[in-house]
Symmetry: D2
Subunit: 363 residues, 4 copies
């Protein structure tokens, strides 16, 4: 189904941009786990609107209310349900898009599927607002993973043509990852970050938007987690990450660049210090045959430019099938990449914690 994810963990996300609330039900969390709700709140704040100078003017408290699954501060084995109220909903802004779909938005495809029944306000179920419950669920998984020594971090790898330096494929130190997690605009190289922010400013000033790439690293996942074929870590991570709106590509390790190489260049030689086995390079992105190799998991995600721009665009009035010019109204980020960073971390955490829970043992 559209909104349910996971094998051992079942995460069911609901809500539309301007429905009374968005929320999530998480079934399968281990009992007795005491979430750090303050840390979770900080994590969720990273994707909240109204936070950075580039984000939409919409402001949401984004305070999740726990409806079930927590007793005395700990999970009780029953499904954990949380809702986040949509306090600043302005449904009126979007009345027109049912008839005149916005280019590169889901409006037209949703109309084709739901024949007018779909919720058009703010993108309905397609809205980036749905990443709030995704971050709630993923934020809990991040904490559960961290308790196992597994840390997930991500940074803005590029905005338009401006790039950050890449992660060290052999591993980043925990301090760097913590600093990224605390940043409004998570980059490894702050000078390059300034350049990237300028690219966003220029796009916004031009009534335009801009896309970018997010790079994610997972440190500490032991070798041997995952499966071949359809439940490989790549399959599962991709299946989760494409749930984040605007994601249009994912590559692991050397990815598309690796496809230009020879085997002798792309292969990662094994070596050992007599104790641990590692690879000299990490073009495989920590995954071989769908299973973790013990090296950091590395992937990059392509995020398209926000389709909502102030510039006039060509569209079609569906009711009378005429070509029209459209100017999109409403509040929109000129670049959603910074706010998508925690959503990518959350999606990765969901996929990996689920893989960890359902990792078959040997006898």
């Amino acid at each position: 189904m559209a909104s349910v994810f996971g094998n051992a963990l079942k995460v069911s996300i609901f809500g539309q941009s301007h429905s009374p609330a968005v929320g999530v039900v998480i079934d399968g969390l281990p009992a007795g786990f005491k979430p750090d709700f303050e840390a979770l709140k900080r994590f969720m704040l990273r994707r909240a609107p109204g936070r950075s100078r580039h984000a939409t003017a919409r402001s949401e408290a984004d305070e999740p209310e726990i409806l079930s699954g927590i007793v005395n501060g700990a999970t009780c084995g029953a499904p954990l349900a949380a809702v986040i109220r949509n306090t600043d909903a302005r449904p009126r802004d979007y009345e027109g898009v049912r008839d005149i779909p916005r280019p590169s938005h889901a409006d037209f495809a949703a109309q084709a599927k739901f024949h007018g029944a779909q919720d058009v306000s703010g993108g309905g179920h397609f809205s980036g607002r749905l990443t709030a419950p995704l971050c709630f669920a993923g934020g809990l998984c991040l904490q559960l993973l961290e308790a196992e020594g597994i840390v997930i971090g991500a940074h803005i790898a590029s905005i338009g043509n401006a790039s950050d330096r890449p992660f060290n494929p052999l591993g980043e130190d925990t301090e760097t990852l913590r600093r990224l997690a605390e940043s409004d605009f998570p980059v490894l190289d702050s000078a390059r970050g300034e350049k990237m922010q300028s690219v966003i400013d220029e796009a916004r000033d031009a009534g335009d938007s801009v896309g970018g790439v997010i790079e994610c690293i997972v440190m500490g996942l032991p070798a041997g987690v995952g499966s071949p074929m359809f439940d490989g870590l790549e399959n599962r991570l991709a299946a989760a990450v494409f749930a984040v709106p605007a994601v249009k590509g994912i590559e692991f390790g050397s990815g598309f660049a690796g496809a230009r190489l020879r085997g002798s260049e792309n292969n990662d030689a094994f070596y050992t210090d007599g104790c641990v086995v590692r690879t000299e390079t990490n073009n495989h992105g920590g995954i071989l045959g769908g299973i973790s190799s013990g090296m950091p998991i590395l992937f990059r995600v392509a995020v398209k430019p926000t389709p909502s721009i102030a510039l006039p665009q060509r569209s079609v009035r569906l009711s009378d099938k005429t070509n029209v010019q459209l100017t999109v109204k409403g509040r929109h980020d000129p670049c959603i990449v910074p706010r998508a960073v925690p959503a990518i971390e959350a999606a990765a955490a969901l996929a990996l914690y689920d893989a960890l829970l359902s990792n078959e043992a040997t006898v």
Copy 2:
């Protein structure tokens, strides 16, 4: 689970490279469907070894035996099971890899997961051999899709640094797709194809291998198929495509290139002739909000260079944790991209036919 795919359709793939057989069980096929088994055989031949000058010397009849699900040439509603015997199995070739894992193969990760119980011969369950049953199942779905007017085609977009011309994002004619499907080395521009084949030859002559990119197009899928969030077409296609060994990346429409663009450049304007609504460009790759837009679905897949190369490589002997030099033996393709083309088509067909079957209706 590792080897089961699908919502409305359940495809369960089994077998190892050198087990008695590989095979597939397909549950949920509509009853009364009469597969064209000759066409299926031709489709499967496209991935069979021993076919082109670049492929492994292993020769397999690859003749599937139908064990159930077919009565008088038509599906009967019961699961369709097919097995393909491994007639040319030489388990002895691989004895050493349990102790000395081959770089960038699944050997090491499998050892970490299964602690020696895994089948190492020819890569076991991780082998490209598993794409034979995948192609059997996907080949049937291709026929079912074709009956709905939906055609899937793919070509070799690049080998190393040598590239074919890309698909026309607004659509390719059926004749071109048919020609691709009949070719040993499916490219759009045969002169460029010659260059790409040279790149493979050079790699092989150097005892090396080379990677590449496959581009896939889906024509005729109506608008409105798919779902937002976790069951979007991108999620489902990615979940299927990463089951093909050596795939390390996937991007839809403008993908990673689109992430460098502004919204005004990447957005696809709608237009109409008063009848059909289409987009002027197809940077969205036919998918908006996880749902088909009615435009061709376009995606590209990164295939890493074959990890098995004749050149000596560095690895580790696990039994005594020492660094060793390894020369991989066995029969290997210098480039698996050509044989991966039908596997990508098959994976796409599985994902899309399943999405079509489980596409919820309005009341």
Copy 3:
């Protein structure tokens, strides 16, 4: 997972007896469906506490709040989420049961599974309170089924040794089913109903409780719905119905009585009026080979006596492993059978509507 049900429809139920709320997320409902919320409210009232003279004194508004999935009174294709607040929660009543499990309650098994993390107040996730969201989801499915001409009804077949007359296995008229749905104590024969109520009164007066049997009929389901093997209608109905607390058995058609018969007695002869094909008897309960036959679906469900009784009982103090005498406190029904009737209808509606949605077609 524990709390997720369905193939084409995914129903995710959450909440504990005394958590802030109970609720449900329903993914996969057709878009454009306009629920009759007044009828749904009436249906849910049938299971609400504080309604009949036999029910617990706990009073709940049981007013569901729709959080998502409904736009302008109709389903919009996004998951429908509804919560019901637990307004009259008194967690203090149950402090003791973590250490001294109540006989034939889930307390001991939950302790063994969750090691103290489970929510013990009012039975936590095991509470009959969870049938409120079940009835919400099932009530919607009842309406969707009714739109297809499929009606589900149930009555109290017996309380202790006092029995109602059984349904006519060949069909009950719609008027009878409507009357049952409007009754506080749904029986076919009101005189027998009085006797059954006396049995409950006697049990209550004795500080005891009593069990019973519910018989359910489904009229109008066309022949050909369901599947052989694991997704047969019997499998699916049973999997849903055992989610209702206190259910300990289910039988279809002649069930256990049929197991005493010969084939010539139990077989249902086919006959036709030249138009429709029916069976002369209905010992098969409308299901053959897991698939509907077009005859009414008939099943009976055994409901155990409420385990919470006022009489003193023997139990164990887990903390020091000593045998103790226990007197259960709290508010409890002397017989939950009357309130379980709509829950059984709801569970059946979920299973059958899901089966209908996922019924594979022929080509």
Copy 4:
């Protein structure tokens, strides 16, 4: 889907009565498990035709061929696929049933669903023949459970009106269970068994058939396995057991008889010897709130009389909608209860081993 079962374990069963083969794919078995194939063969022989004096004259070698998943006698982590050839298939016997459905067989329902595409020979996918791969998969799970100290046994509780003594609800000794497993006609009281066999003989001599009840016990399952709501042990066991053809009812513990009792009679008091906590009686059948209590799991299954009888019956010729008399041809058991015993054990083993594998932990 119809033929796939399990959460952590995925069992996919295929084949029809007279297709080239029946078989099963099992994904999720722990790697490194060395099945005792001799013991498995003996287990499967218990359901094989041609074994007892009451069974069909059809004789099948029933020798499973392992196609994948086993290396050097042990599971390797890849799916285990096994096929059993249908060597003694006589498709011709069943030509007529497509037009004239046999009373209380799946013929009519299958025709309504598949519109003629279904396989009618020998019941197709609805045949008892499908219990052969079920017993293969379940037999492996029985061995895996036994390695955990969990033993499953079953006996014929009744044939028609002749009954065996019931299991001791507080536990049966291992020796008794072993003796049952080795018996052609598994009963606890051999004198009563003779009477039950006479009932079968009389039915057969009358050209008739007879039903019965199977009682199953599970010893050694620790407390704390299972889940509330939809994944309770009752839900899962029922979902598995109804896959065995002819099963029409299931009850746990005191079941339908318990529904006639008062709470004070049906409740199972806890007691302890200062070490282990047990219940004095076992009316709950070892399951409370969907979770194991540590007491033996006890359930009874109603098996309808074989619908195929030699006596003439009334049916309908579908092609011209006329009432006709039908005499069923082919080879049929006058009572399938004895052969269904291992199938019930197998179904229980599948459900419980899957529950064990997917039993969520506390942190």
